[in-house]
Protein backbone atom coordinates (compact mmCIF):
# COMPACT_ATOMS: atom_id res chain seq x y z
CA UNK A 1 0.00 0.00 0.00
CA UNK A 2 1.35 3.42 -0.92
CA UNK A 3 2.14 5.47 2.16
CA UNK A 4 3.84 8.50 0.67
CA UNK A 5 3.39 9.93 -2.77
CA UNK A 6 5.19 12.93 -4.26
CA UNK A 7 3.76 14.16 -7.53
CA UNK A 8 5.82 16.64 -9.51
CA UNK A 9 7.17 18.38 -6.44
CA UNK A 10 9.27 21.49 -6.89
CA UNK A 11 10.96 23.57 -4.21
CA UNK A 12 13.16 26.62 -4.00
CA UNK A 13 15.29 28.56 -1.54
CA UNK A 14 14.61 32.17 -2.42
CA UNK A 15 15.40 32.45 -6.12
CA UNK A 16 17.35 29.17 -6.21
CA UNK A 17 15.37 26.28 -7.61
CA UNK A 18 16.54 23.21 -5.69
CA UNK A 19 13.90 20.74 -6.85
CA UNK A 20 12.53 20.93 -10.38
CA UNK A 21 10.20 17.99 -10.61
CA UNK A 22 10.38 15.02 -8.30
CA UNK A 23 7.80 12.26 -8.24
CA UNK A 24 8.27 9.26 -6.03
CA UNK A 25 6.34 6.82 -3.89
CA UNK A 26 7.09 4.92 -0.72
CA UNK A 27 5.02 1.93 0.27
CA UNK A 28 4.29 0.94 3.81
CA UNK A 29 7.03 -1.13 5.39
CA UNK A 30 9.58 -0.26 2.73
CA UNK A 31 13.06 1.24 2.94
CA UNK A 32 13.56 3.57 -0.01
CA UNK A 33 16.83 5.35 -0.78
CA UNK A 34 17.32 8.68 -2.51
CA UNK A 35 20.76 8.96 -4.06
CA UNK A 36 22.62 11.48 -6.12
CA UNK A 37 25.51 13.92 -6.17
CA UNK A 38 25.84 17.01 -3.98
CA UNK A 39 23.25 19.58 -4.95
CA UNK A 40 21.03 17.06 -6.74
CA UNK A 41 18.18 17.91 -4.38
CA UNK A 42 18.28 14.96 -2.00
CA UNK A 43 18.07 16.95 1.21
CA UNK A 44 15.53 19.32 -0.32
CA UNK A 45 13.29 16.37 -1.16
CA UNK A 46 13.12 15.48 2.52
CA UNK A 47 12.68 19.10 3.50
CA UNK A 48 9.79 19.43 1.07
CA UNK A 49 8.11 16.43 2.69
CA UNK A 50 8.51 17.76 6.23
CA UNK A 51 7.53 21.28 5.18
CA UNK A 52 10.77 23.04 6.07
CA UNK A 53 11.10 24.52 2.57
CA UNK A 54 8.45 26.20 0.42
CA UNK A 55 7.24 23.78 -2.20
CA UNK A 56 4.72 23.19 -4.96
CA UNK A 57 3.18 20.07 -6.42
CA UNK A 58 1.36 17.54 -4.25
CA UNK A 59 2.64 15.45 -1.39
CA UNK A 60 0.25 12.90 0.06
CA UNK A 61 0.61 10.77 3.14
CA UNK A 62 -1.97 7.98 3.38
CA UNK A 63 -3.81 9.61 0.49
CA UNK A 64 -4.20 12.87 2.42
CA UNK A 65 -2.37 15.95 1.16
CA UNK A 66 0.36 17.27 3.48
CA UNK A 67 0.13 20.99 4.03
CA UNK A 68 1.70 23.47 6.42
CA UNK A 69 5.03 23.53 8.15
CA UNK A 70 7.04 20.96 10.05
CA UNK A 71 4.73 21.10 13.09
CA UNK A 72 1.91 19.80 10.89
CA UNK A 73 4.13 17.16 9.29
CA UNK A 74 5.19 15.94 12.74
CA UNK A 75 1.55 15.65 13.75
CA UNK A 76 0.77 13.71 10.58
CA UNK A 77 3.35 11.12 11.63
CA UNK A 78 6.52 12.16 9.84
CA UNK A 79 9.75 11.98 11.82
CA UNK A 80 12.55 13.89 10.14
CA UNK A 81 16.12 13.28 11.31
CA UNK A 82 17.99 16.14 9.68
CA UNK A 83 21.55 16.14 8.47
CA UNK A 84 24.20 16.58 11.13
CA UNK A 85 22.82 14.91 14.28
CA UNK A 86 19.44 16.37 15.01
CA UNK A 87 19.74 16.48 18.77
CA UNK A 88 19.17 19.15 21.38
CA UNK A 89 22.74 19.45 22.63
CA UNK A 90 21.93 21.23 25.88
CA UNK A 91 19.26 18.74 26.90
CA UNK A 92 19.78 15.30 28.36
CA UNK A 93 19.45 12.01 26.49
CA UNK A 94 16.11 11.25 28.18
CA UNK A 95 14.80 14.75 27.50
CA UNK A 96 15.70 14.36 23.83
CA UNK A 97 13.77 11.09 23.71
CA UNK A 98 10.77 12.61 25.49
CA UNK A 99 10.69 15.46 22.98
CA UNK A 100 10.31 12.84 20.27
CA UNK A 101 6.96 11.97 21.83
CA UNK A 102 5.91 15.62 22.01
CA UNK A 103 2.94 15.29 19.66
CA UNK A 104 1.61 12.14 21.31
CA UNK A 105 -1.22 12.28 23.78
CA UNK A 106 -1.40 8.61 24.79
CA UNK A 107 0.00 7.25 28.03
CA UNK A 108 2.46 4.78 26.61
CA UNK A 109 5.40 7.12 26.31
CA UNK A 110 7.06 5.47 29.29
CA UNK A 111 6.73 2.03 27.72
CA UNK A 112 8.25 3.33 24.52
CA UNK A 113 11.21 4.71 26.46
CA UNK A 114 11.80 1.13 27.61
CA UNK A 115 11.35 -0.17 24.07
CA UNK A 116 13.99 2.27 22.83
CA UNK A 117 16.25 1.16 25.66
CA UNK A 118 15.98 -2.41 24.40
CA UNK A 119 17.54 -1.29 21.12
CA UNK A 120 19.99 1.17 22.68
CA UNK A 121 20.69 0.11 26.28
CA UNK A 122 23.20 2.95 26.80
CA UNK A 123 20.43 5.54 26.38
CA UNK A 124 18.79 4.31 29.57
CA UNK A 125 22.08 4.01 31.42
CA UNK A 126 23.22 7.50 30.41
CA UNK A 127 19.80 9.13 30.36
CA UNK A 128 20.96 12.13 32.39
CA UNK A 129 23.93 12.94 30.17
CA UNK A 130 23.82 16.07 28.00
CA UNK A 131 23.39 15.16 24.34
CA UNK A 132 26.15 17.58 23.34
CA UNK A 133 28.70 15.46 25.19
CA UNK A 134 27.90 12.30 23.21
CA UNK A 135 30.05 11.08 20.35
CA UNK A 136 28.90 11.70 16.79
CA UNK A 137 27.67 8.14 16.38
CA UNK A 138 25.80 8.23 19.67
CA UNK A 139 24.13 11.49 18.71
CA UNK A 140 23.01 9.96 15.43
CA UNK A 141 21.58 6.98 17.33
CA UNK A 142 19.88 9.36 19.75
CA UNK A 143 18.32 11.25 16.85
CA UNK A 144 17.02 7.91 15.56
CA UNK A 145 15.71 6.96 19.01
CA UNK A 146 13.99 10.31 19.31
CA UNK A 147 12.34 9.85 15.92
CA UNK A 148 11.08 6.41 17.00
CA UNK A 149 9.53 7.93 20.12
CA UNK A 150 6.99 9.67 17.91
CA UNK A 151 5.84 6.26 16.58
CA UNK A 152 6.29 7.61 13.08
CA UNK A 153 4.32 6.49 10.06
CA UNK A 154 7.35 7.49 8.02
CA UNK A 155 10.96 8.07 9.04
CA UNK A 156 13.04 10.51 7.00
CA UNK A 157 16.80 10.10 7.39
CA UNK A 158 19.09 12.72 5.93
CA UNK A 159 22.69 11.63 5.30
CA UNK A 160 23.02 9.58 8.49
CA UNK A 161 26.54 8.47 7.49
CA UNK A 162 27.88 12.02 7.34
CA UNK A 163 31.07 12.36 9.37
CA UNK A 164 30.78 8.95 11.02
CA UNK A 165 33.31 6.14 11.02
CA UNK A 166 32.45 3.28 8.63
CA UNK A 167 31.88 0.86 11.49
CA UNK A 168 29.44 3.26 13.17
CA UNK A 169 27.64 3.75 9.84
CA UNK A 170 27.19 0.00 9.41
CA UNK A 171 25.90 -0.29 12.99
CA UNK A 172 23.44 2.51 12.34
CA UNK A 173 22.03 0.97 9.17
CA UNK A 174 21.92 -2.46 10.76
CA UNK A 175 19.64 -0.97 13.45
CA UNK A 176 17.46 0.75 10.86
CA UNK A 177 17.06 -2.53 9.01
CA UNK A 178 16.22 -4.36 12.23
CA UNK A 179 13.53 -1.79 13.05
CA UNK A 180 12.16 -2.17 9.55
CA UNK A 181 12.00 -5.95 9.79
CA UNK A 182 10.75 -6.20 13.37
CA UNK A 183 8.39 -3.25 13.55
CA UNK A 184 7.56 -2.57 9.92
CA UNK A 185 9.13 0.89 10.11
CA UNK A 186 8.87 2.74 6.79
CA UNK A 187 12.00 4.70 5.90
CA UNK A 188 12.98 7.19 3.23
CA UNK A 189 16.73 7.66 3.45
CA UNK A 190 18.90 10.19 1.66
CA UNK A 191 22.51 9.06 1.37
CA UNK A 192 25.76 10.10 -0.17
CA UNK A 193 27.13 6.62 0.47
CA UNK A 194 25.26 4.81 -2.32
CA UNK A 195 26.83 1.44 -1.58
CA UNK A 196 25.42 1.12 1.93
CA UNK A 197 22.11 2.78 1.04
CA UNK A 198 21.52 0.29 -1.78
CA UNK A 199 22.36 -2.60 0.51
CA UNK A 200 19.63 -1.74 3.05
CA UNK A 201 16.93 -0.36 0.75
CA UNK A 202 14.53 -2.27 -1.45
CA UNK A 203 14.14 0.50 -4.01
CA UNK A 204 16.05 3.64 -4.86
CA UNK A 205 15.71 6.88 -6.76
CA UNK A 206 18.69 8.68 -8.26
CA UNK A 207 18.35 12.45 -8.46
CA UNK A 208 20.14 14.70 -10.89
CA UNK A 209 19.78 18.49 -10.74
CA UNK A 210 16.39 18.40 -9.05
CA UNK A 211 14.83 15.59 -11.12
CA UNK A 212 14.54 11.85 -10.85
CA UNK A 213 17.08 10.55 -13.35
CA UNK A 214 16.65 6.91 -12.61
CA UNK A 215 14.77 4.58 -10.29
CA UNK A 216 14.32 0.91 -9.65
CA UNK A 217 14.89 -1.96 -7.25
CA UNK A 218 18.11 -1.49 -5.32
CA UNK A 219 19.44 -4.89 -6.29
CA UNK A 220 19.13 -4.04 -9.99
CA UNK A 221 20.77 -0.64 -9.59
CA UNK A 222 23.57 -2.28 -7.69
CA UNK A 223 24.07 -4.95 -10.31
CA UNK A 224 24.15 -2.55 -13.24
CA UNK A 225 27.74 -1.45 -13.64
CA UNK A 226 27.01 1.40 -16.05
CA UNK A 227 24.54 2.90 -13.58
CA UNK A 228 26.99 2.48 -10.76
CA UNK A 229 29.76 4.21 -12.63
CA UNK A 230 27.85 7.14 -14.05
CA UNK A 231 25.42 7.87 -11.22
CA UNK A 232 26.65 6.34 -8.03
CA UNK A 233 30.36 6.86 -8.28
CA UNK A 234 31.64 3.49 -7.17
Amino acid sequence: MTLLELDRVAAHYGPVQALREVSLTVSEGEIVAVLGANGAGKTTTLRAISGTVSRSGTIELDGKPLRGGPEAAARAGIAHVPEGRGTFVDLTVTENLKLGAYTRRDREVKRDLERIASYFPWMAERGGQRAGTLSGGEQQMLALGRALMSRPRLLLLDEPSLGLAPMVVREFFRTVRELNEKEGLTVLVVEQDARIALSVSSRAYVLEVGRVALSGPSSELRANEAVRRSYLGY
Binding site: S50, T52, A74
Partner: protein, 305 residues
Protein backbone atom coordinates in the same frame (compact mmCIF):
# COMPACT_ATOMS: atom_id res chain seq x y z
CA UNK B 1 40.01 52.56 65.10
CA UNK B 2 37.83 49.57 64.33
CA UNK B 3 34.55 49.54 66.19
CA UNK B 4 33.12 46.27 67.46
CA UNK B 5 31.63 44.19 64.68
CA UNK B 6 27.93 45.02 64.73
CA UNK B 7 26.32 41.65 64.14
CA UNK B 8 22.75 42.92 64.17
CA UNK B 9 23.45 45.65 61.63
CA UNK B 10 25.33 43.13 59.50
CA UNK B 11 22.38 40.71 59.54
CA UNK B 12 20.00 43.53 58.63
CA UNK B 13 22.14 44.41 55.65
CA UNK B 14 22.21 40.76 54.59
CA UNK B 15 18.42 40.50 54.71
CA UNK B 16 17.79 43.74 52.86
CA UNK B 17 20.52 42.85 50.35
CA UNK B 18 18.89 39.51 49.64
CA UNK B 19 15.51 41.24 49.28
CA UNK B 20 16.74 43.70 46.68
CA UNK B 21 18.78 40.88 45.14
CA UNK B 22 15.60 38.80 44.89
CA UNK B 23 13.95 41.55 42.86
CA UNK B 24 17.02 41.84 40.61
CA UNK B 25 16.91 38.06 40.22
CA UNK B 26 13.26 38.08 39.10
CA UNK B 27 13.84 40.76 36.52
CA UNK B 28 17.09 39.11 35.43
CA UNK B 29 15.18 35.83 34.97
CA UNK B 30 12.74 37.67 32.74
CA UNK B 31 15.65 39.00 30.67
CA UNK B 32 17.20 35.54 30.44
CA UNK B 33 13.96 33.85 29.37
CA UNK B 34 13.52 36.32 26.53
CA UNK B 35 17.18 36.24 25.57
CA UNK B 36 17.13 32.45 25.36
CA UNK B 37 14.06 32.36 23.14
CA UNK B 38 14.13 35.54 21.08
CA UNK B 39 17.88 36.12 21.26
CA UNK B 40 17.78 39.76 22.35
CA UNK B 41 17.94 41.85 25.50
CA UNK B 42 14.47 43.22 26.11
CA UNK B 43 15.16 46.83 26.96
CA UNK B 44 11.45 47.37 27.66
CA UNK B 45 11.47 44.81 30.49
CA UNK B 46 11.68 47.50 33.20
CA UNK B 47 8.95 49.63 31.64
CA UNK B 48 6.71 46.60 31.26
CA UNK B 49 7.15 45.92 34.99
CA UNK B 50 6.37 49.54 35.84
CA UNK B 51 3.23 49.35 33.71
CA UNK B 52 2.12 46.22 35.58
CA UNK B 53 2.63 47.97 38.93
CA UNK B 54 0.50 50.87 37.67
CA UNK B 55 -2.27 48.47 36.68
CA UNK B 56 -2.29 47.02 40.18
CA UNK B 57 -2.32 50.51 41.67
CA UNK B 58 -5.12 51.69 39.33
CA UNK B 59 -7.29 48.69 40.15
CA UNK B 60 -6.90 49.40 43.87
CA UNK B 61 -7.11 53.19 43.79
CA UNK B 62 -9.47 54.00 40.93
CA UNK B 63 -11.59 50.88 40.73
CA UNK B 64 -11.90 50.07 44.41
CA UNK B 65 -10.50 46.55 44.20
CA UNK B 66 -8.90 45.11 47.28
CA UNK B 67 -5.21 44.42 47.01
CA UNK B 68 -4.94 40.67 46.47
CA UNK B 69 -7.55 40.28 43.70
CA UNK B 70 -5.95 43.31 42.04
CA UNK B 71 -2.55 41.62 42.26
CA UNK B 72 -3.83 38.38 40.73
CA UNK B 73 -5.56 40.32 37.94
CA UNK B 74 -2.33 42.24 37.37
CA UNK B 75 -0.32 39.05 36.97
CA UNK B 76 -2.86 37.59 34.54
CA UNK B 77 -3.07 40.80 32.52
CA UNK B 78 0.72 41.03 32.44
CA UNK B 79 0.97 37.51 31.08
CA UNK B 80 -1.60 38.26 28.39
CA UNK B 81 0.14 41.55 27.67
CA UNK B 82 3.50 39.83 27.26
CA UNK B 83 2.03 37.30 24.83
CA UNK B 84 0.32 40.15 22.99
CA UNK B 85 3.53 42.18 22.72
CA UNK B 86 5.26 39.20 21.17
CA UNK B 87 2.48 38.48 18.71
CA UNK B 88 1.90 42.07 17.63
CA UNK B 89 5.24 43.86 17.95
CA UNK B 90 8.09 41.35 18.10
CA UNK B 91 6.98 38.58 15.77
CA UNK B 92 6.87 40.71 12.62
CA UNK B 93 10.56 41.62 13.03
CA UNK B 94 11.73 38.35 14.55
CA UNK B 95 13.29 36.99 11.38
CA UNK B 96 15.22 40.16 10.76
CA UNK B 97 18.53 41.17 12.27
CA UNK B 98 18.96 41.26 16.02
CA UNK B 99 19.42 45.00 15.79
CA UNK B 100 15.88 45.43 14.48
CA UNK B 101 14.41 43.59 17.44
CA UNK B 102 16.56 45.57 19.86
CA UNK B 103 15.35 48.81 18.33
CA UNK B 104 11.77 47.63 18.60
CA UNK B 105 12.24 46.89 22.33
CA UNK B 106 13.73 50.35 22.82
CA UNK B 107 10.75 51.80 21.00
CA UNK B 108 8.50 49.78 23.27
CA UNK B 109 10.30 51.20 26.31
CA UNK B 110 9.60 54.75 25.15
CA UNK B 111 6.03 53.99 24.14
CA UNK B 112 5.12 52.35 27.45
CA UNK B 113 6.80 55.11 29.44
CA UNK B 114 4.91 57.74 27.44
CA UNK B 115 1.64 55.88 27.85
CA UNK B 116 2.07 55.69 31.63
CA UNK B 117 2.67 59.44 31.90
CA UNK B 118 -0.21 60.19 29.52
CA UNK B 119 -2.59 57.92 31.40
CA UNK B 120 -1.61 58.45 35.03
CA UNK B 121 0.66 61.54 34.94
CA UNK B 122 4.25 61.44 36.09
CA UNK B 123 3.36 62.21 39.71
CA UNK B 124 4.77 59.64 42.13
CA UNK B 125 2.10 57.46 43.68
CA UNK B 126 2.00 55.09 46.59
CA UNK B 127 1.39 51.36 46.05
CA UNK B 128 0.98 49.32 49.21
CA UNK B 129 3.23 46.37 49.97
CA UNK B 130 1.64 42.92 49.79
CA UNK B 131 3.33 42.13 53.10
CA UNK B 132 3.14 45.42 54.97
CA UNK B 133 6.14 47.52 55.88
CA UNK B 134 6.24 46.89 59.61
CA UNK B 135 9.56 46.14 61.20
CA UNK B 136 9.86 42.86 63.03
CA UNK B 137 12.73 42.04 65.33
CA UNK B 138 14.20 38.60 65.40
CA UNK B 139 16.62 38.49 68.30
CA UNK B 140 18.13 41.95 68.07
CA UNK B 141 17.94 42.04 64.27
CA UNK B 142 15.30 44.40 62.92
CA UNK B 143 14.01 43.55 59.44
CA UNK B 144 11.01 44.70 57.47
CA UNK B 145 8.15 42.37 56.65
CA UNK B 146 8.37 43.53 53.08
CA UNK B 147 11.96 42.34 52.78
CA UNK B 148 11.20 38.94 54.30
CA UNK B 149 8.16 38.59 52.02
CA UNK B 150 10.19 39.61 48.98
CA UNK B 151 12.85 37.00 49.67
CA UNK B 152 10.18 34.32 50.16
CA UNK B 153 8.35 35.26 46.95
CA UNK B 154 11.55 35.36 44.91
CA UNK B 155 12.66 31.96 46.16
CA UNK B 156 9.16 30.52 45.74
CA UNK B 157 8.94 31.71 42.14
CA UNK B 158 12.38 30.37 41.34
CA UNK B 159 11.41 26.93 42.66
CA UNK B 160 8.10 26.96 40.76
CA UNK B 161 9.80 27.99 37.55
CA UNK B 162 12.43 25.31 37.98
CA UNK B 163 9.74 22.66 38.48
CA UNK B 164 7.91 23.98 35.44
CA UNK B 165 10.95 23.93 33.16
CA UNK B 166 12.26 20.63 34.48
CA UNK B 167 9.17 18.48 34.85
CA UNK B 168 6.44 19.63 32.48
CA UNK B 169 6.03 18.93 28.81
CA UNK B 170 5.56 22.59 27.97
CA UNK B 171 8.62 23.49 30.03
CA UNK B 172 10.67 20.96 28.10
CA UNK B 173 9.32 22.31 24.82
CA UNK B 174 10.30 25.84 25.88
CA UNK B 175 13.83 24.68 26.61
CA UNK B 176 14.01 22.77 23.34
CA UNK B 177 12.90 25.91 21.51
CA UNK B 178 15.65 27.89 23.22
CA UNK B 179 18.29 25.30 22.29
CA UNK B 180 17.26 24.74 18.70
CA UNK B 181 14.04 26.18 17.26
CA UNK B 182 14.40 24.43 13.87
CA UNK B 183 14.70 21.05 15.53
CA UNK B 184 11.86 21.85 17.90
CA UNK B 185 9.55 22.45 14.95
CA UNK B 186 10.55 19.09 13.48
CA UNK B 187 9.36 17.27 16.60
CA UNK B 188 6.08 19.17 16.40
CA UNK B 189 6.62 22.02 18.88
CA UNK B 190 4.65 25.12 17.86
CA UNK B 191 7.64 27.40 18.19
CA UNK B 192 5.96 30.76 17.68
CA UNK B 193 3.60 30.01 20.56
CA UNK B 194 6.53 28.94 22.71
CA UNK B 195 8.19 32.29 22.06
CA UNK B 196 4.97 34.10 22.93
CA UNK B 197 4.70 32.02 26.10
CA UNK B 198 8.25 33.06 27.00
CA UNK B 199 7.28 36.73 26.65
CA UNK B 200 4.20 36.11 28.78
CA UNK B 201 6.28 34.48 31.51
CA UNK B 202 8.84 37.28 31.39
CA UNK B 203 6.12 39.93 31.64
CA UNK B 204 4.63 38.15 34.65
CA UNK B 205 8.00 37.91 36.39
CA UNK B 206 8.50 41.59 35.67
CA UNK B 207 5.08 42.35 37.17
CA UNK B 208 6.10 40.65 40.40
CA UNK B 209 9.34 42.63 40.45
CA UNK B 210 7.35 45.82 39.80
CA UNK B 211 4.79 45.40 42.59
CA UNK B 212 7.63 44.51 44.99
CA UNK B 213 9.70 47.54 44.00
CA UNK B 214 6.97 50.21 43.97
CA UNK B 215 6.28 50.12 47.73
CA UNK B 216 9.97 50.80 48.42
CA UNK B 217 10.94 53.43 45.88
CA UNK B 218 7.48 54.88 45.18
CA UNK B 219 5.36 54.21 42.09
CA UNK B 220 6.84 56.40 39.41
CA UNK B 221 7.16 56.06 35.61
CA UNK B 222 10.95 55.66 35.92
CA UNK B 223 11.05 53.53 39.03
CA UNK B 224 12.46 50.44 37.27
CA UNK B 225 15.26 52.14 35.35
CA UNK B 226 17.87 51.45 38.02
CA UNK B 227 16.43 48.02 38.83
CA UNK B 228 16.74 47.06 35.15
CA UNK B 229 20.42 48.01 35.19
CA UNK B 230 20.94 45.84 38.28
CA UNK B 231 19.05 43.05 36.52
CA UNK B 232 21.34 43.41 33.48
CA UNK B 233 24.31 43.17 35.79
CA UNK B 234 22.82 40.12 37.53
CA UNK B 235 22.05 38.38 34.24
CA UNK B 236 25.48 39.10 32.81
CA UNK B 237 27.16 38.04 36.03
CA UNK B 238 25.28 34.74 36.13
CA UNK B 239 25.42 34.11 32.40
CA UNK B 240 22.86 35.63 30.07
CA UNK B 241 21.61 32.19 28.97
CA UNK B 242 21.42 30.63 32.41
CA UNK B 243 18.24 30.91 34.52
CA UNK B 244 20.10 29.57 37.55
CA UNK B 245 22.84 32.10 36.87
CA UNK B 246 20.31 34.95 36.82
CA UNK B 247 19.04 33.98 40.26
CA UNK B 248 22.49 33.56 41.79
CA UNK B 249 23.71 36.70 40.02
CA UNK B 250 20.79 38.73 41.36
CA UNK B 251 21.16 37.58 44.96
CA UNK B 252 24.94 37.98 44.81
CA UNK B 253 24.67 41.50 43.45
CA UNK B 254 22.11 42.58 46.06
CA UNK B 255 24.21 41.08 48.82
CA UNK B 256 27.45 42.57 47.52
CA UNK B 257 26.08 46.10 47.26
CA UNK B 258 24.73 45.93 50.80
CA UNK B 259 28.02 44.55 52.05
CA UNK B 260 29.67 47.64 50.62
CA UNK B 261 27.17 49.71 52.58
CA UNK B 262 27.97 47.77 55.72
CA UNK B 263 31.73 47.91 55.34
CA UNK B 264 31.73 51.60 54.41
CA UNK B 265 31.88 52.27 58.16
CA UNK B 266 35.42 50.91 58.06
CA UNK B 267 38.31 52.86 56.63
CA UNK B 268 39.09 50.43 53.79
CA UNK B 269 35.66 50.99 52.29
CA UNK B 270 34.89 54.50 53.47
CA UNK B 271 35.02 55.74 49.89
CA UNK B 272 31.73 53.96 49.24
CA UNK B 273 28.48 55.86 49.26
CA UNK B 274 25.05 54.92 47.94
CA UNK B 275 25.51 56.95 44.76
CA UNK B 276 28.11 54.43 43.68
CA UNK B 277 25.68 51.47 43.57
CA UNK B 278 24.71 51.95 39.92
CA UNK B 279 28.22 52.69 38.65
CA UNK B 280 29.44 49.56 40.43
CA UNK B 281 26.71 47.52 38.74
CA UNK B 282 27.84 48.90 35.38
CA UNK B 283 31.45 48.13 36.27
CA UNK B 284 30.44 44.53 36.99
CA UNK B 285 28.78 44.27 33.57
CA UNK B 286 31.92 45.58 31.92
CA UNK B 287 34.35 43.39 33.84
CA UNK B 288 32.32 40.20 33.34
CA UNK B 289 31.93 40.87 29.61
CA UNK B 290 35.67 41.38 29.32
CA UNK B 291 36.91 38.59 31.57
CA UNK B 292 34.29 35.90 31.38
CA UNK B 293 31.59 36.70 28.80
CA UNK B 294 29.64 33.53 29.50
CA UNK B 295 29.21 34.57 33.16
CA UNK B 296 29.45 32.35 36.21
CA UNK B 297 26.99 29.69 35.02
CA UNK B 298 26.87 30.02 31.27
CA UNK B 299 28.90 27.56 29.28
CA UNK B 300 30.61 28.13 26.01
CA UNK B 301 28.76 26.16 23.35
CA UNK B 302 30.79 23.48 21.69
CA UNK B 303 29.30 22.34 18.43
CA UNK B 304 30.20 19.01 16.96
CA UNK B 305 30.22 18.94 13.21
Amino acid sequence: MLGAFDTAYFAQQVVSGLASGGVYALLALALVIIHRSTGVINFAQGEMATFSAYICWALVTSHGWSYWPALVATLVLSFVGGVGIHRVVIRPVERGSVLRIVIVTIGLLIAINGFIIWQWSGEPQQLQSPFGTDIVTIGDVAVSEHDIGTIAVALGIVVLLWLFFQFTKVGLALRATAVNPEEARLVGVRVTWMLALGWGLAATLGAVAGVLTAPIVGLDPNMMVAVLIYAFAAAVLGGIDSPAGAVVGGLLLGLMLNMLTFFSQYRAFDWFSEELRLPIALLIILVVLLVRPSGLFGHAHVKRV
